[in-house]
């Protein structure tokens, strides 16, 4: 049985093929202005990689903020459910999940089967989302992927007191004019994000079995500081950006299995 999960986020589109219960292939690419085109392109790439054709795929489930417009998806599931499902596949003990992408941030509680029991979300303000990291990385002119490690090389951090990322950017500029280094600014930006995220995690309830998913999990500057602040270890899989697409593919498989069982009964 082969199922496809497609996760269209604000910055990247992800597609993952699940063969029975194993990850067969995945692909990540930057999102264009059109969600449908992005979904088609990333799906094409993952199919090419696996040597499969779309009609050999038994079920397609879409998730992410562009999930409702994808024409070849047979179903769409919220990214909250998909992240809980995907995180539990990697880490069966997972109970608290932080998923942060470009445009929003979710703190999720789930049970042993990966079913969501509670969640809180920020999708109103960029200060608590990956976008703030994109803006700060661009400000000091470093690649988004490098900013976390660079921030950990700083011996001190500049205080960023403004909540709004537009104002925080001006704060950071001021610090740089007064002689702060790039790394110190990045350290301040990571700390500011951690303090925002901590609030969300507190509201949903923190459990020791903690997983970070989404693009932010690749930022060690945020992950390490979050571990330090919370006093727990963060479980991060080898590719945290595919967890949503993985969850979607698992939903597809479960749906087919349920259908098969009902078919046999009848």
């Amino acid at each position: 049985m082969i199922t496809l999960g497609v996760d269209i986020g604000s910055l990247t589109g992800k597609a993952l093929l699940l063969r029975d219960n194993e990850i067969h292939a995945w692909e990540i690419m930057l999102t264009g202005p059109d969600s449908v085109e992005t979904a088609e392109a990333v799906t094409k790439k993952v199919l090419e990689k696996s040597g499969l054709k779309l009609d050999e795929v038994d079920h397609v489930v879409a998730t992410g903020y562009g999930r409702k417009v994808i024409p070849f998806a047979k179903k769409n599931v919220s990214e909250i459910s998909c992240h809980a499902k995907g995180a539990s596949w990697f880490f069966p003990s997972a109970r608290t999940i932080l998923d942060m992408g470009g445009q929003d941030c979710k703190a999720i509680r789930c049970d042993g089967s990966g079913k969501v029991t509670d969640f809180v979300m920020n999708d109103k303000c960029a200060a608590g989302a990956g976008r703030s990291m994109e803006i700060m990385a661009r400000l000091v002119d470093v690649a988004l992927e490098e900013m976390g490690d660079l921030s950990l090389q700083a011996e001190r951090s500049v205080p960023i007191s403004s909540t709004c990322v537009v104002f925080a950017r001006s704060d950071a500029l001021g610090h740089m004019r007064r002689g702060a280094s790039k790394n110190e600014v990045l350290a301040g930006a990571c700390e500011a994000l951690v303090s925002r995220v901590r609030g969300l995690l507190k509201r949903v309830g923190m459990n020791e079995s903690f997983v970070i998913s989404g693009g932010i999990a690749k930022n060690r500057g945020v992950a390490v500081r979050l571990e330090r602040e919370l006093g727990v270890k963060a479980h991060i899989c080898y590719e945290p950006q595919i967890i949503g697409a993985l969850g979607a593919a698992i939903f597809g498989r479960e749906l087919l299995e349920k259908r098969d069982k009902m078919g046999k009964k009848a």
Binding site: P33, T163, V166, R177
Partner: protein, 262 residues
């Protein structure tokens, strides 16, 4: 007696000079990264028409976000107070002031005598401020001055659903890509800004039609925002001839001793 008022805003620094309590000169300079230097530049320029120099100033008061950064001997005064004084000197009996600045929005409700009755300030979030408008202008490739008039040609509602500047930026870029008419997007942007400002208007308890409401600050030059705001308020707002120097005027009035003590 020569008295000076300075308003060191996030984007612009404004200077007003009074001679014996009467407006004698004013000027503006970009705040850029040095509010102190901008204050000196603006002040020298404002004094030029009087043929006076900075040394001739007998009293000075500063307001705005950079009021504590300046090197001139000026006493700091609260922004809300300066806006109130400036408004009631220009328009005696005004009901309130809506000050729509670069990084903050202030709404002041006045009692009949020109004193502050209540106020509301937005300073945590850039939504609904000049920075928001600037970012949208850039995202759309439309000069800020043209946004207002162009938006009035809108025929279709295109709401901007993101409140955050950073998110609204990508939303607008997506709309531009999908060939949504520019005037409709612009109207959506102005509605978003106006609804944020209206939230503060409600919090300050400013009535829509109970006396004249003065709108000042950079955004008051945008007819699109004013029109959306008037619709929400179910009333009219009055924009003075020089809407950007109102707070500096208030500061100068305090300096000249006309502020009823500060």
């Amino acid at each position: 007696m020569i008295a000076a008022g300075l308003d060191i805003g996030a984007l612009w620094t404004k200077a007003v000079v009074l001679r014996d309590g009467v407006l004698a000169g004013w000027s503006m300079a970009p705040s850029s990264d040095d509010g102190a230097r901008a204050a000196e530049t603006a002040l020298v320029e404002a004094l030029r028409s009087l043929g006076a120099a900075v040394g001739d100033i007998q009293a000075a008061v500063a307001t705005g976000v950079g009021k504590n950064e300046i090197r001139l001997p000026a006493k700091p005064a609260a922004e809300v107070l300066c806006a109130a004084l400036g408004a009631s000197s220009m328009f005696p009996g005004a009901a309130g002031v809506i000050d729509m600045g670069g990084e903050s929005t202030r709404v002041v409700r006045l009692d009949g005598g020109g004193q502050v009755a209540d106020y509301a300030v937005n300073d945590k979030c850039a939504a609904g401020t000049g920075v928001f408008l600037d970012a949208m202008a850039k995202a759309m490739g439309v000069p800020v001055e043209e946004m207002g008039p162009l938006s009035l040609k809108s025929t279709k509602q295109v709401p901007i659903t993101s409140m955050c500047v950073a998110f609204a930026e990508s939303e607008v870029v997506t709309l531009v890509h999908s060939r949504t008419p520019k005037e409709d997007i612009l109207m959506g942007i102005h509605q978003s800004i106006a609804s944020r400002i209206f939230g503060l208007v409600s919090r300050a308890g400013l009535p829509g039609n109970g006396g004249s409401t003065i709108a000042v600050g950079g955004l008051s030059r945008n007819v699109g925002i004013l029109s959306c705001l008037e619709t929400l308020m179910k009333g009219t707002v009055v924009v003075p001839e020089n809407p950007r120097i109102l707070s500096a005027l208030g500061a100068a009035l305090i300096a000249s001793g006309k502020g009823g003590g500060a």
